[in-house]
Each structure stands twice: as structure tokens, then as C-alpha cells.
Amino acid sequence: MELGRKGRIGFVPPPPIDPTVEIDLPKELLRDEVELPGLSELQVVRHFVRLSQMNFSVDTGFYPLGSCTMKYNPKLNDRIASHPKVINAHPHQPHETVQGLLGILYDLSTMLASITGTEAVTTLPAAGAHAEFLGALMIRKYHAVNGDSNRNEMIVPDSAHGTNPASAQMAGFKVVKVSTDSRGLVDLEELKKLLGERTAGMMMTVPNTLGLFEKDVLTISKLVHEAGGLMYYDGANLNAIIGRVRPGDLGFDVVHLNIHKTFSTPHGGGGPGAGPLCVKAFLRDYLPTPLLAYDGKLYHWEQELPHSVGRVKSFWGNVGVLVRAYAYLLTLGPEGLKEISGLSVLSSNYLMKKLDPKYYSLPYAEGVPRKHEFVVSSKPLAKKGVKALNVAKAIIDEGQHAPTVYFPLIVDEALMIEPTETEPVEEIDRFANVVNEIGRKAIDDPEDVLKRPLFNSSGLLDDFKASHPMSLKLRWAPQGKQ
């Protein structure tokens, strides 16, 4: 951008159809100057291609970021999503003219209902957190409609993703935290004490963020339901159990899925994602509007539902993302689904076993198999001054992406690792060797680990300086202005 010059242009818009037509706008609202840098097409392409080369991605290397399910994104799905009848469809086009596209979304919804053990699905939410907010709102509305407005508490385990308490709070709930016990699971006794006539519901991630299956979940659902609350399933970790265990069968009433995790759609460097919300039949009327429906002849958007929480976004959801998930599911079939969960769990336990406990300790539940991800602590390295962050930076120096660090919050110096089912065993071995070698070095030569990263597109960056308001946008002056 700082290369910008006046008069240079990278894309020349077409001229007006009739240049004699006068533009008629209020004089006092006309803009004098549009200060954007002028660049040629070559400069722009070169710049962004170079930036892309300075970016780690699944297509360039192993990306074991815990709870993010960075599996490979099959290229077929991109081709499907770039079909002209997908990308050119206008959201206000009459529904009769997009029956094929709506049929795909409807079939996808049906498949997601079957996978989650639920009966009604909306593909509207743009992301997992968006769905959480809407799901929490639905729970609130459900109690209000049932004359139970005093239920204002949402129970959230202390191991939960940060979006859970944030979404519950946005939906107007008081967040009540339940602890993790020594098994690494929800503390049942504490939960019993928290339940009561204020309980609106409970949000849970199964398996939880330690990678442990919440084996009391059926009891928990029963207790929460008996207390009058509803159960919410955070789908971030569905990859561990897909095709084998269905959240609906575990007693969950509201379930969200992360299409950009479990269903292999690319994460786009932060987005777009999609977060379908799948619910039991008794909650259908509470779903946000519009809702895709089929009347036996035509697919159409149902604009009103009796108890709907209302409108929550522009148009009908991240369709370009959802059609990728449709293609993905057709590639897998029912047995394929079982295979991805199985292989993700196998990879994760295999990698966990390979990490040297001298350097990385395993908090909670020794001997219990983890699911698709696991959490170790780099605490054994702390005596040498090496922290989880240093380990992460040393890993990226070795050409692999770091795990999620300092999460879940209940583990000190946490490294949360999720290899996914798509990595070959050689990659997993290589990663294990790299991480063990960093552990060894941290003990023998901690200085070497502490100065990382050395070989990336930048050295260790100063977070503090960047938070100054002057650092939030580029200050540039056009060159060659005459």
C-alpha cells in the first residue's frame, strides 16, 4: 500500500452506459478526495501472493491446533462451491428458480439431523459462536413461553470454550461455572448443588477440551432435565465421535456444528465458517427465521415461526460453505463418518503416547484414552524458564504449526494438540520427534529455545506496542502527487 502512486490503477471499471447521463446527488454530500493507494494489477498480485507465501496453512504443513480440527480440505468441495449456479445465485431470487440449490441445503440439513440425532435444523448461523448465541436465546425463549422466566442461569464447565460463557451472557443469562474434578470431567456433586429452579440449561462439549469423553453425560442430561433445564451441545469436538455417538441420544436438546472444523471446509484464515443449529422437534418453532422447509413439491423459506427468536443475520447462511459440507458427506457415507472419528482418535492417542513424559506431563486421567485431541503441560520445562509459549515458537521454527497454548485454562502451561485423521503417520512421528527434541533442548540448552522463532517470516513480536491506537491502521501518504 505504501507503494501507491496517484494515477496508477489495477482494475479499470467499465465506463457508464451513457456518458451524457448526469449524476444527480446532493452537492453538499459529494466527496472530494478518495485516498486509496493506486497500484497496478501486477503489483497487487505480487504483493498478495507474497503475503500468502508468508502464511502457514494446512496445504503447506501439519497444523495440530487443538479444538480447531485443522483437517485437510478436499479440493472437490471447492470446485462444487464455485459452480456458477452457486456463486451467481442472488439471495432474493424467487425460490422456484433455485430449487436445486435449496434441495442441496435441505438434504444437508436432513443429513445433519441424522448425524446429531435431532429433528430440525437451521443452516442460518455463520459460525459456531453465532449458533451458540441463538441456541442460548432459544433456551431463554422456551422458558419464557412456558411461564418460566425466572430461569436465568446457564451452567458452563470451567473447561469450556470461551465462546460458551460469552454467548450465554449475550443471550442474557447469568453464567454459573461448574468445576472439573480430578478425573478431568464435570464435577457431578458440585453440579447437583448448582441445579435448581433458576437453571435454564447447561452447555457442554463432549468430548471436553481435555479430550476426555464425559462419561457421566447421560446422568448429567437427566439431572439437568429433572431440574427443568435444557442441554446444549457445543459441536467443536464432534470429530471425535461422529458416526458413532449422537448428541441427541445423549440427551442434548440443542446442538451446533462447526462446518469449518468437522466437515472439512477451509477456515479461511479466520472465516468464513458455518454453524448449523440442530434441535429436537419440540424446539423447532423457536428456531431463528427464515427456516428452509419442504411442502412436498417445493423448497421454500418459512418466514415466520410461532416462537422464533427472530432474525439474526442477512439472508440465508453461508451457502458457499454449506455446499462444501454436502459434497464432503457424500464422499464419506455412513461408514466413512465412523472412520474419520476413529482415525482422529487413533492419531491423537498415538501422538500422545509418543511424547516424552519427562518434558510433557499429562494432567488428569492417566491411562484413560483421549479422544480426537489431548492436553499436555510443559510444566516440567518451567524450572529452566521455558514456557508453553516458547515451546510453541520453537515448533513453528521447525516448519510445523504450534498446538493451541494456554487453553483450557484449567491446565498450567497447556499445549492442546489435535492431529486430525487426515495426517499420515510419518507427519505425526515427525511432529513428536520435533516436540521431544525441543523438550530435551529446553533442559540442556534453554537459551536456544527461548530465543525462538528465528526462521519464520518474523521474529518474536511485541504484542504491547501493537495495541496503541496509532498502530491499528496504516498511515500512508500517496507518492508522486503533483
Binding site: I9, G10, P13, P15, L25, L30, R31, L36, F48, S52, N55, S57, R79, A81, V86, N88, A89, H90, P91, H92, V98, I115, A126, A129, L137, G162, T163, Q169, M170, F213, K215, G243, D249, G268, G269, G270, G271, G310, R311, V312, S314, N318, V319, G320, A327, L330, T331, G333, E335, K338, G342, Y350, S458, G459, L461, S467, H468, S471, L472, K473
Partner: protein
């Protein structure tokens, strides 16, 4: 791998899962199919759809047909960008971070604001989050929204703020002017957290009194939030120039295909002292240097506002956003530059006026319906018959022209009016076809 773990089967790794938790039957989905079969299945399904290229589409109302330059498509298809996660490890993600930082900077220049975030889901959620931010900043609960704003935006604002104990009031617009009625903007010093107005508004009309609205809001210690269509900012004053506090908008016109309305790009920018910026939702990228050295670098900043750190006290729950769309928009704006954006804006506005003139020449049609200035969208109506907006819409689409979005869907009192949207993607033969079809549908 199984041997290394000392187990005989994958099922043993699920030994801790209670037997009654497993699904009784396999999941009921079709497949597996081969890649070629899937392409055919999709082709077959889409074969009946009559979706046409942007040139035959004159629908707007929140997403607009535009030309996407091939360079933008190339840049957003770089798999190093699209197959990466949120840049939590900045040293391995400088490319994405710098691209997002440039996006933020370009949005700031475009809107003349001080700080932009790295994207929201879409315009509606950006507007809703702006309203929530106003409630946090002012400690007041009321949001006054112009009824001339988009239906999805008005309703998303309502859903979001009511969840936070806020309430919304709608200010009416003049039935002849299509402009927000200044006298119906009931702003109270005790209650109003913000006034929300769109420029141009949903009816296509350019709100002339935005400076007065800003002043009115500020006099009552309320924020002024503007929802702006980004390409219009090549011609129209930037909201920062008439003292908007927060600017939101739909970034789709900046190089994104329609994709049936998603993924979109929620633009969010604010004026900025740090106290104000600290209340912003979403990811923000900042510029810094290496700890040891002078080389520039980029990192996610002010993360202590966000859900993964602040949990139930976060400014927003947003985690996944629309980053790839922001990269596309940055590429698009970089290609255009200031001169290009001005030229684009002029073409769009001129083409819209050309089309309006042509429709007005048709017997029985009024175009534009509203007595005010417009940018790219204008309302039409057939006055000498009882043809409703929906009739027009359906009959045109049967002729392969997607146009005339019925305003009656959003405003019950406007059963006859329909909205036409014209952009740079339309050439003379396209407008000829639209006008021809409008002539035929009677």
C-alpha cells in the same frame, strides 16, 4: 499405530464411553460416492435452476450483482490463505495478519474512521454488534433505527439488543421522499444509546440530512451509527466526514460473488480513542515490531476484549469471522485505488440513472417513485394497472430477468413498489432486456 498403543482395534479407544451412549443404528446418510459421481449429482440437482450471470440480475436489497476481477479471485483462492486458521501464532501467519491489517487500513480510509476490525459475519450482525457496543459505551438502553433501513438489519438489531435488555424504536420515513423523517427521530438524552441510519437507505434514497442526524444524536449523548454501502463512498462523503461514531456495512460489493447471500463480509469501523476501541467486537490486527529489532510485524491486538480470554465479560462472543472475504476486499480496493473507486462509483450511479430514465419512458411506469436523490437502487411502480410489486417480480423472473424486488415484503403499505438495482456489471443490452421485459409483463 494400534500396536504402539497396545490395543487391537479402534473401538478399544472408546472403552470409556458407556455402552448406552453409542448410536443404535448407523447414521442415515447416502454415499460414499466417488468425486466424479458427486460432481454429477450436484450438476443434476442444479440443472433446473435458472440462476443467471450478474448481468441479468437487477436485484439488490443487501447483496448486489457486481463484476469480480480475476485478480481478486486468484488472491482469495490462494490456499495458503484459505486453508489457514485464525492467526494465533503471528510469526507463522504474517501474511494473513498483514493482509487483514491492510484491509482494516483501507476500510478506515474509505469510511474516514480510525479503527476497523478484521470483519463481522455480515452487515446485519455488524449493525447489531454496533448497537450493543453503543449500549456498553453509553450505559443507555435505547436504539433508534430508521425504518428506511434493511429489514434484516432492523430485525437483527432488535434480536441482539433485546437479549441485552435493550429496546428499539423505529423512526419513520417520508412516504413521498423515502428519506428518514428527522422529526420522527425521537432521541432522548436519558435513554437513547444510538441512532442507526443507512446511506443510501434500503429504498435506494440518499439521506441528505445525515449531518443534522449526527448532531441530533450527539446533542443527546447518543452515538451515530451509519450503515454504508461501500462502493457509494467513491462519490458520497465518508461517514467520518459527517461525524459518525461507528460505520458498518456490507462488504460483498468489494469483490465477493453473491453465493446466494453467503459468505458475506460485515464491515465494522469506529472513531477512535482507546477507550472507545476497547469496546469494539471482533478481531483487530495491529502493527508492531520484533521485540529484538526494528522489522515490522503484525499481531492480533486487544485480545483481552475477546471471548477466549474474557469469557462472559467479553465485548462479543465472535470467534470465527469472515477473514478470507476481508482479504478479497483488500485486494479489490487495492486494485481500484482512489481513482478506480471514484470511476466505479460514477459508472454505477450513472447506469442507475440511465436505467431509471429508460423505465420512466415506458408507459404506465413511475421511476423513481421517491422524490429524492438515489445512488444505485431506485423504486419503480406500475401506476395505471393493479399490478403489485410481487406480480412484477414473478413475471420478470419467468422471462429470465431477476429484478423488481417487491418492497411490499418489507413495508406492507408499499404493495405496488419494487426496487431495481443497477451496477457496473450491467451494459446497454442488459438494460434493454430489463426494459423490454418490463414492457412485456403488463
Amino acid at each position: 499405530m494400534l500396536k504402539a498403543l497396545g490395543v487391537n482395534s479402534i473401538d478399544e479407544l472408546y472403552a470409556d464411553v458407556p455402552a448406552e451412549a453409542f448410536a443404535k443404528r448407523p447414521v442415515d446418510i447416502p454415499g460414499p460416492y466417488t468425486e466424479m459421481e458427486i460432481e454429477r449429482i450436484v450438476e443434476q440437482k442444479l440443472s433446473g435452476d435458472t440462476t443467471a450471470p450478474p448481468s441479468s440480475c437487477f436485484l439488490g436489497g443487501g447483496a448486489w450483482p457486481h463484476y469480480v476481477p480475476p485478480a481478486v479471485q486468484l488472491i482469495s483462492s490462494r490456499s495458503e490463505f484459505y486453508s489457514s486458521y485464525t492467526p494465533y501464532q503471528p510469526e507463522a501467519s504474517q501474511g494473513m495478519l498483514q493482509a487483514l491489517f491492510e484491509y482494516q487500513s483501507l476500510i478506515c480510509d474509505l469510511t474516514k474512521m480510525d479503527a476497523a476490525n478484521a470483519s463481522m459475519y455480515d452487515w446485519a450482525t455488524a449493525a447489531a454488534e454496533a448497537a450493543l457496543m453503543a449500549i456498553r459505551v453509553t450505559g443507555k438502553k435505547g436504539i433508534v433505527v430508521s425504518r428506511a433501513s434493511g429489514y434484516d438489519r432492523r430485525n437483527a438489531i432488535r434480536t441482539y439488543i433485546e437479549a441485552a435488555g435493550g429496546h428499539m424504536a423505529e423512526a419513520d420515513f417520508g412516504p413521498r421522499t423515502g428519506l428518514t423523517d428527522l422529526s420522527s427521530l425521537e432521541v432522548s438524552a436519558d435513554d437513547t444509546a444510538a441512532v442507526y441510519v443507512e446511506q443510501p437507505n434500503f429504498l435506494g434514497c440518499v439521506e441528505e440530512a445525515v449531518p443534522e442526524m449526527a448532531e441530533l444524536a450527539h446533542r443527546k449523548k447518543a452515538l451515530f451509527i451509519v450503515g454504508a454501502e461501500p462502493t457509494s463512498l467513491g462519490l458520497l462523503k465518508a461517514p467520518g466526514e459527517y461525524n459518525a461514531d461507528v460505520v458498518v456495512g456490507e462488504g460483498q460489493p468489494l469483490g465477493l460473488p453473491l453465493s446466494y447471500g453467503g459468505p458475506l463480509l460485515g464491515v465494522f469501523a469506529a472513531r477512535g480513542d482507546l477507550a472507545f476501541i476497547r469496546q469494539m467486537p471482533g478481531r483487530i490486527v495491529g502493527e508492531t515490531t520484533e521485540k529484538e529489532g526494528e522489522r515490522r510485524g503484525y499481531v492480533l491486538v486487544l485480545q483481552s476484549r475477546e471471548q477466549h480470554i474474557r469469557r462472559e465479560r467479553a465485548t462479543s462472543n465472535i470467534c470465527t469471522n469472515q477473514a478470507l472475504m476481508a482479504v478479497a476486499a483488500a485486494a479489490y480496493l487495492s486494485l481500484l485505488g482512489g481513482d478506480g473507486l471514484k470511476a466505479l462509483s460514477r459508472t454505477i450511479c450513472s447506469n442507475a440513472h440511465y436505467a431509471a430514465k429508460r423505465v420512466a419512458e415506458l408507459k404506465g411506469y413511475t421511476a423513481p417513485v421517491f422524490e429524492s436523490k438515489f445512488y444505485s437502487e431506485f423504486a419503480i411502480a406500475h401506476v395505471s394497472s393493479d399490478l403489485t410489486g410481487t406480480d412484477l417480480f414473478r413475471r420478470l423472473s419467468a422471462r429470465g430477468v431477476f429484478a423488481a424486488l417487491p418492497l411490499g415484503w418489507f413495508y406492507p403499505e408499499m404493495s405496488r413498489e419494487a426496487l431495481i438495482s443497477v451496477t457496473e456489471a450491467h451494459m446497454k443490452p442488459d438494460v434493454d432486456r430489463l426494459v423490454g421485459a418490463l414492457g412485456e409483463v403488463l
